[in-house]
């Protein structure tokens, strides 16, 4: 079966986001951009399923600017077979992305779509679930284990308080959580090889999807700053201060 892996280009997770002075967003000029870490886990999981002989072809998809090509090349270097860039300079919301992915799923007929549970920029945590609704497929979100068994996939999910396992009919949607796997680094030969793997460029209009935003960002501001308090000299002083606040056994 084919596996579709959507990937998003985001501010690198090691870079501290800076809110723009005019309050229109976070400054993305001249900062390092990378593949969303949860999506990287999705690519890795697809590759492992291919190595196990479960998957036959891995198609990486990104909806974003021309530079998202770099993100797709990373997915190809890790081991995806081909890529589709749905190019747009507009910020596309999860609902719009899900509609584009639905159209691609209709055309490609994958057995699984593996997405990151959320992108670390907008932190929406929506696209996978929305795609599941639009396709009418089952969803296994926040996955920490994925096992394909015949025409079903069993997904262990990280839920509040522990783990839960569900069995889903294929085709299905999986969204990744952190402990699903540890993504590999692409080797230099594979990075070179990735340059010649096929990458198609499309537009949202090619899929008949209207991506105009439903939600307007009025402003983006710094979170309230917490200031440092006092340092105490020893445990006795700490205990005294805690007791004064009513904290004791």
């Amino acid at each position: 079966m084919k596996i579709l892996v959507p990937v998003k280009r985001v501010l690198d997770y090691n870079v501290k986001p800076r809110v723009k002075a005019d309050g229109t967003g976070v400054d993305l000029a001249n900062v390092k951009m990378s593949m969303n870490p949860f999506d990287e886990i999705g690519v890795e999981e697809a590759i492992r399923l291919k190595e196990k002989g479960v998957a036959t072809e891995i198609i990486a998809v990104s909806v974003g600017p021309a530079k998202a090509q770099e993100t797709l090349r990373t997915a190809l270097a890790m081991g995806a077979d081909r890529a589709i860039l749905v190019q747009t300079d507009d910020a596309v919301e999860p609902l719009g992305v899900a509609k584009i992915l639905k159209a691609i799923a209709d055309a490609e007929q994958p057995g699984l779509v593996i997405l990151g549970k959320q992108a670390i920029d907008d932190d929406n945590n929506q696209t996978g679930q929305m795609l599941a609704a639009l396709t009418g497929w089952a969803q296994g979100t926040f996955a920490s284990a994925v096992n394909v068994e015949g025409d079903h996939v069993s997904v262990t999910r990280e839920v509040d308080g522990g783990l839960e396992t569900v069995k889903l009919k294929l085709p299905a949607i999986v969204t990744t959580d952190l402990r699903l796997n540890e993504p590999r680094y692409a080797s230099l030969p594979n990075i070179m090889k990735a340059k010649s793997k096929p990458l198609d460029t499309k537009s949202p209009a090619d899929y008949g999807v209207d991506t105009s935003p439903r939600v307007k960002t009025v402003k983006v501001s710094e979170p309230p700053v917490r200031s440092a308090g006092v340092k105490v000299a020893d445990v006795d002083e700490l205990v005294a201060k805690l007791k004064a606040m009513g904290v004791h056994s």
């Binding site: 501010l11 501290k16 986001p17 809110v19 976070v26 919301e93 999860p94 609902l95 899900a98 670390i120 907008d122 932190d123 945590n125 929506q126 696209t127 679930q129 929305m130 599941a132 609704a133 089952a138 969803q139 979100t141 926040f142 920490s144 999910r157 990280e158 839920v159 509040d160 308080g161 522990g162 783990l163 839960e164 396992t165 569900v166 069995k167 009919k169 299905a172 952190l178 402990r179 935003p213 439903r214 939600v215 307007k216 960002t217 009025v218 983006v220 710094e222 979170p223 917490r226 440092a228 006092v230 340092k231 020893d234 445990v235 006795d236 700490l238 805690l242 606040m245 904290v247 056994s249």
Partner: protein, 309 residues
């Protein structure tokens, strides 16, 4: 505006996160609740007592027993024919169901709201809480998830909602529940605890976590937490994790012990009322947010603290 709030429950009691969602919904208009599950009469009765609730829709069906979104989302979408906003707590269950509902209704969800500015405008954290966005919806109906620590909990008594059975929906036949491993504990749940004692990588081992952190938590009746580094190192299970990729908490008092204070950890606990940090590195970023800081070797001072408090 008529709102429909998803009631998260364990089959017998309403979970706390629901109460914050009720408070958020009450800022929009009339509050209706949805209790779905199997054998949920008791939950429905408890839900009807929540202050300010107008009506409780009860969908009692085996297909709703394990919160499978494939079965629940169509039920909610149908009920949304007569409601204007669907409001769910931003728990793993709420996050699983709400976007599926939103897509069925063809609306954009607004995730993890921190405040209701007006009935179309909300604030929400982006970039792991490093920025706060004020956003305005233009959709005809709203789908919201609510960050539990950002709203007061509605009172669990004083309400007199009318309970009404819903017959809609059933098993979509594409998913089934296999099993769950939920940690059983006498301790308060992390997300609703008044005091949390968290340990970080400086502990060095699972044994030291048990030896140093657990007794302090026991003495204070506190929940146990950990940094991602401590979880990744295998000192404690994953559900202990506080941070951007774990639980978002805001207790009265948060003890960060041997935790340096990575951005991703701060994102999960910086709304705590009082933060107490113990770390031997005086330059650790945790001290920049701590109300009370003690620069010392945790292996010496935490047992002393446990003895003296």
């Amino acid at each position: 505006m008529k709102t429909l709030v998803w009631v998260e429950h364990d089959g017998s009691a309403v979970k706390d996160a629901t109460l914050a969602a009720v408070t958020a919904a009450s800022k929009l208009g009339e509050v209706h609740l949805l209790v779905a599950g199997q054998g949920v009469d008791g939950v429905a009765k408890a839900a009807a007592q929540i202050a300010g609730v107008g009506k409780v829709h009860v969908a009692d069906n085996a297909a709703f027993g394990h919160n499978l979104p494939e079965n629940i989302a169509p039920l909610v979408a149908e009920l949304m024919g007569s409601h204007d906003a669907f409001v769910a707590p931003a728990t793993t269950t709420g996050k699983n169901i709400a976007p599926r509902v939103a897509a069925l209704l063809d609306v954009m969800q607004i995730s993890e709201i921190l405040s209701v500015e007006d009935p179309k405008t909300f604030t929400r954290p982006i970039y792991a809480g490093n920025a706060i966005a004020t956003v305005e919806s233009s959709d005809a109906k709203l789908v919201l998830t609510v960050r539990g620590t950002a709203f007061e909990k509605a009172a669990t008594s004083g309400g007199s909602g009318a309970v009404e059975a819903v017959s809609a929906g059933g098993d979509a036949g594409i998913s089934s529940f296999v099993g769950a491993e939920i940690a059983k504990s006498e301790r308060p749940e992390l997300t609703s605890a008044k005091i949390i004692v968290s340990g970080g990588r400086a502990l060095g081992s699972s044994e030291k976590y048990q030896e140093v952190i657990v007794p302090l938590a026991d003495k204070l009746g506190a929940a146990l937490g950990a940094s991602r580094a401590a979880v990744d190192a295998g000192y404690v299970p994953n559900d202990y994790q506080v941070g951007q990729t774990g639980k978002i908490v805001a207790p009265e008092v948060y003890f960060a012990i041997g935790i340096s204070g990575a951005i991703q950890h701060l994102a999960g606990m910086k709304d705590s009322k009082t933060i107490v940090a113990i770390n031997k590195d005086e330059d650790a970023p945790i001290f920049q947010v701590a109300d009370l800081g003690l620069v010392a070797d945790l292996f010496n001072v935490v047992p002393e603290l446990t003895a003296k408090i």
